[in-house]
């Protein structure tokens, strides 16, 4: 018991002594855990498909058939294997207008009473009523409507009674990218044609000139009363489509059921629940392609920052171990102290990261909000929390074990005298630096004497620049996609996929930049601290404070340069690994990134360097070993 | 001059007075130079009287006599062996000084710190001399070794005097 208390007291004292370092460590680990949390949340959305949840909540159909007349329904309803059905419901074509935006819609006529199969779940507002329509959720987002707004359908005014989700159709904007059953099951997945037999109004946004089969990205799904739906039709816009929802005794037979009937002459068009489900997954996977590499990068950056912090503590740690060993204490006591400290800090960081991730995740997952379970806070499972805490603990352990092992192996005397690592000598560099002005002389020699630290610095910068370049590449890519999608600009609707991707990107960019700045701060601060003794000695020998500061800047830029340059190809590599097919961002951006990073590192070095030169030389020399 | 020292100098071989002198000079360096010539002969005389040394002519040939040399007797040789085996270390005179300070303070005759300061100055001067002499010697000379010993002991004494000063200053502050 006494020993535990001792360890706790030592740990608290140590943290207080190095409060700034402790805070920075917490921030770095928190950033890593926050990213991991978000990645896991999004992963949770895809791996355990909310489509299943939606299907369960809306009594989703196993097979949806699109008929040209109600007589086709009887045969299907009576087919072997069919357990239940709803419909056939009339489906009218229409154009919806709201607030200057317009889009094509399929309006399904429904009863006010709930159907037995496919009863869309209303997430806000109420179900259909005369004069009141219900809009599919992602479509409503894109259109910008909310419950209570007035919209125009084929020239007539309707109120938005509610917003709902369904499992019977793919969510906007994939309504017509969905599962039109093709000649083979395999070809069924991604087809350009809409599952609806015909769209009777000239489509607003059409890739081909064929109005007979709708083929666009921007068709939305709405529900209204049967009377209202029929009211939309006219001589030029006749009612030619009916939707029939089927529930099978064995849902797994859905594909076979549909395929058997799809090839007959005048057959209806079919959708199956498996196809619909996979389509929805694509929506989220798309985003995954952005978040995952982003998360990896952030995690790397966070670990790099932690590495810098831990690296500095290594030598202090060894000295402390030596001291304790000399007075009879065991390395295990010091290791226990360090471990306790790091664990507590890491756990604190994990909690902060979890909270941050929990708050930020909705931003990322909600545009995929066609599906249940993704509105508001994402579902947090115990496993997510466990993973995150696990990461934090691993980091804490790694940060402790490495120095502990080294310290245990080193001799007490060496640790006390800090003999372990003398600076390196590079004759040629020293000779070369002779001819240079004082700042360059100093800076070059600083890099030469501690090459490993310079390398660590370079690695840090490389990771930072990698992240920035990857993000730039994605921005360029996203811009390209946006400008190519004329459908979007013509009707003024926002593409929710791109929207969501951009939001994710913004979040990741902000986090990246924050972490990069933090990382840069750690690195420059570490550079200045490591050079304290040399700086003081140079001043004692007559170097001016400004020369010393410039020298530190030179040292920092020299070690940052290779890292910054390396980061460009690495960043692009990361981007292409995540998003297939993308062009390198414009050269000017890349050059600007490299130069900008170097300038940032230089400026960030100036402040701690100048602070360092304020301290009296004698004090520094007395306290620091070389 | 310690008698045993002169005795020991004769142990190697019988010598004339001036040869003895030369050997001492070599061993003592600058310190030896300051020594009075007469000192040696006085000591030799005493040793003769005590029967530890005998003076006689050195025979050169059957009929010629060389100069007179001093030579150890058997008793003298015994004495030398004894002396070489002794382990006593010359006593420093600290007790006297210590008592001097206490007496001065108790009787109010003088300021003990003043006494210490004066003594320190004297010792520092001596240290300076000894040091200079030491540095004038070449490396590895016998005299150099002796001088090093003297400087180190003076240094030790000075350290003690510093301690005295501290202690007496504190004592004054407290009273």
């Amino acid at each position: 018991m006494g020993k535990t208390l001792l360890v706790c007291r030592l740990a608290v004292r140590d943290v207080r002594h190095h409060l700034a370092q402790a805070v920075l460590l917490v921030i770095a680990i928190a950033a890593a855990t926050a990213t991991l949390t978000m990645a896991l949340a999004l992963n949770g959305v895809t791996s355990q498909p909310p489509y299943a949840a939606t299907r369960a909540a809306t009594k989703g159909p196993d097979v949806v058939a699109y008929l040209t007349s109600t007589s086709q329904a009887k045969k299907l309803v009576k087919a072997p294997g069919v357990a239940n059905h709803s419909g056939p419901f009339p489906v009218a074509s229409g154009i919806i207008r709201f607030d200057g935006r317009q889009a094509d819609v399929f309006a399904e006529g429904r009863t006010t009473a709930p159907a037995e199969v496919d009863q869309p779940l209303v997430t806000s507002g109420t179900w259909v009523r005369p004069g009141g329509i219900v809009i599919q959720r992602t479509f409503a987002d894109a259109l910008g409507v909310s419950v209570g707004d007035q919209v125009t359908l084929n020239g007539e005014s309707f109120a938005v009674a509610g917003i709902a989700v369904t499992a019977a159709q793919s969510a906007y904007p994939n309504l017509c990218n969905g599962t039109h059953l093709g000649p083979t099951p395999a070809a069924s997945k991604f087809s350009d044609a809409c599952p609806f037999p015909s769209f009777n109004i000239p489509l607003l946004s059409v890739h081909g000139s064929d109005t007979a089969t709708a083929s666009s990205d921007d068709v939305g799904q709405i529900w209204m009363t049967e009377a209202d739906a029929i009211g939309l039709t006219s001589k030029v816009n006749p009612l030619t489509t009916y939707a029939l929802n089927l529930k099978l005794t064995n849902p797994d037979n859905a594909q076979a059921f549909a395929y058997d009937r799809a090839t007959a002459a005048n057959a209806p068009l079919f959708s199956t629940w498996q196809g619909l489900g996979s389509e929805d997954a694509v929506l989220v996977e798309d985003g995954h392609g952005v978040l995952e590499p982003g998360a990896v990068l952030l995690a790397l950056l966070a670990i790099a920052s932690v590495a810098v912090l831990v690296g500095r503590r290594l030598s202090e740690y060894e000295r402390r171990v030596g001291l304790l060993k000399a007075v009879g204490g065991t390395p295990s006591l010091v290791a226990a102290t360090f471990l306790a400290e790091n664990l507590v800090l890491a756990l604190l960081a994990a909690v902060i990261g979890l909270l941050a991730g929990w708050l930020v995740s909705p931003l990322i997952t909600s545009p995929g909000a066609a599906l249940i379970g993704t509105a508001g806070a994402p579902s947090f499972s115990l496993s997510t929390a466990a993973d995150v805490v696990g990461l934090a603990v691993v980091v804490a352990l790694a940060a402790t074990l490495l120095p502990a092992i080294r310290a245990a192996r080193s001799s007490t005397v060496d640790a006390l005298n800090d003999v372990a690592r003398p600076p390196r000598r590079r004759r040629k560099l020293i000779g070369l630096s002779n001819r240079l002005p004082v700042p360059a002389l100093f800076g070059l020699r600083l890099v030469a004497r501690r090459p490993r630290r310079a390398l660590l610095s370079a690695a840090n910068i490389a990771v930072t620049v990698t992240g920035i370049v990857a993000v730039l590449a994605f921005h360029a890519y996203a811009d390209g996609r946006l400008s190519g999608a004329s459908a979007v600009t013509a009707t003024g609707l926002s593409d929710p996929v791109i929207n969501r991707d951009e939001q994710m990107l913004t979040v990741i960019t902000v986090m990246l930049v924050t972490l990069a700045v933090l990382n840069a701060l750690f690195t420059t601060w570490a550079t200045v601290l490591d050079a304290r003794h040399s700086s003081a000695l140079m001043r004692a020998l007559g170097a001016r404070a400004r020369q010393v500061t410039s020298g530190l800047v030179v040292a920092q830029v020299l070690s940052a340069l290779p890292g910054a340059i390396l980061g460009v190809p690495l960043g692009f590599g990361l981007f292409t690994a995540a998003v297939h097919g993308g062009a390198l961002p414009p050269k000017s951006w890349l050059v600007a990134t490299v130069i900008g990073t170097l300038i940032a590192m230089a400026s960030l070095t100036v402040v701690p360097a100048q602070l360092g030169t304020r301290q009296p030389v004698a004090e520094v020399l007395a306290s620091e070993a070389a | 001059m310690q008698q045993e020292v002169v005795l020991a100098m004769l142990a190697k071989e019988p010598s004339q007075g001036f040869q003895l002198r030369a050997r001492l000079d070599q061993a003592l360096g600058a310190l030896g130079e300051a020594m009075n010539d007469g000192q040696i002969y006085v000591t030799l005389g005493r040793l003769e009287k005590a029967g530890l040394v005998v003076r006689q002519h050195v025979p050169i040939s059957a009929d010629r006599r060389g100069p007179k040399v001093y030579e150890l007797t058997a008793t003298g040789q015994e004495r030398v062996s004894e002396w070489l085996g002794e382990v006593s270390w010359p006593k420093p005179d600290l007790a006297e000084f210590h008592l001097k300070l206490i007496a001065a303070a108790a009787a109010g005759l003088a300021d003990p710190i003043g006494i210490v300061d004066v003594q320190r100055r004297e010792l520092i001067r001596r240290l300076r001399e000894a040091q200079r002499a030491a540095m004038a010697e070449s490396d590895g000379s016998e005299a150099g070794l002796l001088l090093e010993g003297i400087t180190l002991r003076l240094q030790a004494d000075l350290r003690w005097l510093e301690a005295c000063e501290r202690s007496w200053t504190d004592r004054r502050k407290r009273s």
């Binding site: 003398p422 600076p423 390196r424 590079r426 020293i430 002779n434 001819r435 004082v438 020699r445 030469a448 004497r449 040399s534 000695l537 140079m538 001043r539 004692a540 020998l541 007559g542 170097a543 001016r544 404070a545 400004r546 009296p616 030389v617 004698a618 020399l621 070389a626 | 001059m1 310690q2 003592l28 600058a30 310190l31 130079e33 300051a34 020594m35 009075n36 000192q39 010359p90 320190r120 100055r121 520092i124 001067r125 001596r126 240290l127 300076r128 001399e129 000894a130 040091q131 002499a133 030491a134 540095m135 002796l146 090093e148 003297i150 400087t151 180190l152 003076l154 240094q155 000075l158 200053t169």
Partner: protein, 246 residues
């Protein structure tokens, strides 16, 4: 003392840390004059402020109050830039811990101040060799400090302090980390330099170093308490040292 002859002049020099209850007077209203070519030793117990005094004299720290004059110019109010200039050209400093750069050879260490002062690399190198010769380390010019003994390292540091022909050399416990033999090396060197006209102020614990000085000052609690003139004051009784004169 003629003011023109004094290299360093201090009047009412003070250095204080903290405030109120926690006020510490490291140097308390000290007056000092150092003549050209003089060797001055400052002795005192730990914490008496002698090192602080030296740092003030060398421009490594700023006084809280008082005046400091070097060769007739006022230096206590100099800017950081001015102090750097001072350290480069007028003052050489020798530390107890040597503070050599471990990755530089002896000659590279010694030439550093010359390079900082803007001399050409060739000239700086030449001067470094010359100085190393002077301190008796000519053959070890290309050795790293790790290959040198303590005494040799301090001699390299002394050579470094002389690189730019300073007016004044300040030494802070130069033999603090050295054994007896190494101390003797340094002593000899100081004697030689003194003969050559060097002005030297040494702060030391070691009475042997103090004994080489022309003047010795005792310091306690930030103030000078005693001064002893050592030149020309021998008792002339060498033999008295060994008790052979009885």
């Amino acid at each position: 003392m003629n003011e023109e002859e004094s290299v360093l002049l201090a009047r009412g020099l003070r250095k204080e840390y903290g405030s109120g209850e926690g006020l510490v007077r490291a140097v308390d209203a000290v007056d000092l004059e150092v003549a050209r070519g003089e060797t001055l030793a400052i002795m005192g117990p730990s914490g008496c402020g002698k090192s602080t005094m030296l740092h003030l004299m060398g421009g490594l720290d700023r006084p809280s109050a008082g005046e400091l004059w070097l060769n007739g110019s006022r230096i206590d109010r100099l800017s950081e830039r001015g102090l750097a200039q001072l350290r480069r050209h007028e003052i050489g400093f020798i530390f107890q811990a040597f503070h050599l750069m471990d990755e530089l050879t002896a000659q590279e260490n010694v030439e550093l101040p010359a390079l900082l002062a803007g001399r050409s690399p060739r000239e700086a190198r030449r001067r470094a060799f010359q100085l190393l010769d002077q301190v008796g380390l000519g053959e070890r010019a290309t050795h790293l400090p790790s290959a040198l003994s303590g005494g040799q390292r301090q001699r390299v540091a002394i050579a470094r302090a002389l690189a730019n022909e300073p007016l004044l050399v300040l030494a802070d416990e130069p033999t603090g980390n050295l054994d007896s033999a190494a101390t003797l090396e340094v002593l000899r060197l100081f004697e030689d330099l003194h003969t050559g006209g060097l002005t030297l102020v040494v702060v030391t614990h070691d009475e042997r170093i103090a004994a080489t000085a022309d003047r010795m000052i005792s310091m306690r609690d930030g103030a000078f308490v005693d001064e002893t003139r050592l030149t020309g004051s021998t008792s002339g009784n060498l033999a008295g040292l060994i008790g052979l004169g009885s």
